[in-house]
């Protein structure tokens, strides 16, 4: 009985240790995956913004603007899960750094994200109404006070020597 317990304990220690090693490995891999999906989401948002802009400029159709705006309401809500702790610093395949303030001021970051998400919701309402003046106002508001506000506080350019 005594030995069994001892072995069990040893086994548990080993198991915990190995889990730790593999957790660290998967964290590193996770970070890469997280950065990639973050970058992809932002680029996708750029395309969706472009679809609405194209409609405003008379270069694209309303159906695509609607799809773009609908996507934005979804992707702006996904932002917090794209920034798990430990995923700051420069993105090796990008031009920007996610600033440490995201995690040191997490609640402020969430506020900024919620602002963006609610402005995306408002844009979708405007796009669905088809009223160009309303769409333009909502578009400008989302861009400046949603996307831009967050990029001003929480994003910076990678220093390239």
């Amino acid at each position: 009985m005594f030995f069994v317990t001892r072995f069990r304990l040893l086994g548990m220690v080993l198991a915990v240790g190995m889990a730790g090693v593999s957790a660290a490995a998967s964290l590193a891999q996770d970070k890469e995956t997280v950065l990639k999906s973050r970058q992809e989401t932002m680029k996708e948002q750029g395309k969706d913004v472009g679809a609405v802009k194209a409609y405003l400029e008379g270069k694209g159709d309303l159906a695509q603007a609607k799809t773009g705006a609908a996507n934005l309401t979804q992707t702006t809500k996904k932002i917090p899960e794209l920034f798990p702790p430990g995923t700051g610093g420069p993105n090796p395949t990008g031009d920007y750094v996610a600033k440490p303030e995201i995690w040191t001021d997490w609640n402020k970051f969430l506020d900024a994200q919620k602002t963006a998400a609610s402005k995306a919701d408002a844009l979708l309402v405007a796009v669905n109404s088809g009223d160009k003046a309303a769409i333009e106002a909502a578009f400008n508001d989302l861009g400046k006070n949603g996307c831009g506000a967050c990029h001003t506080t929480f994003r910076e350019k990678i220093e390239k020597k």
Partner: protein, 278 residues
Amino acid sequence: MLLVLSLSAAADPVSRGAYLVNAAGCEGCHTDLQHNGQPYAGGRALVTPFGTFYSPNITPDRETGIGRWSDEQFLRALRDGIRPDGANYFPVFPYPSFTKITDEDARAIKAYLFSLPAVRHANRAHDISFPVSWRFLQNGWKLLFFSPGPFRPAPERSEAYNRGAYLVTALAHCGECHTPRNWFGATEPDRFLAGNPHGPDGKAVPNITPDPQSGIGDWSEEDIATLLKIGQTPEFDFVGGAMGEVVKDTSRLDDADRRAIALYLKSLPPIRSQKKGR
């Protein structure tokens, strides 16, 4: 507020001043937002290769602000970089750009600043070392690098061009960040707006001359005006960092002023810089 700001040609100096102070971006540097400082009460740290400067209080508080300043003293500070006690400002204060501001605009700026609530907030000493810290050496700097004098419109150019030139070179002082600086921290006139690898907080600032490769030659005037209005680039990104702060101000300009800036920038000589700056 928006209504007041849009009246750029309003007769009342305070509302004119409000528009001009926004165009000049005074609040950004003179407010320590990071530590919840009051607007215009100063204290924001400005990190430069020469040390860290702390912006002064420009509210009309009589003890810690500029409440005792006469019009003449204010104009001398703004346009000649000289404090009421006769000492020089460091060129971290963009007086080499503000020197071009007209008398009338300078007085309106003062009128607006003096209409603000006085905030008691003592100025903090700059964190700079010898020889930069010797203020009188600034006299030599000025002799070498400072050309005082008001903006002179180019008579052969359009009104919009001249308005854009005045906004870019005087009020909005774009060149203070977008033009590279020499060893003495003076902007290089022949590289005007060609990008600055060592801008504020050590960040690179892009080339905004119309060079197609390293500047914004592929941007239309409309693209530039859109960036100034909502921060959106032609690639559908939204600018952040220091330019994000600037867009807060430029978004409140009149459409005509944003278009004038765009027209002026597009008519500048393209200057090639080493890398694509944006």
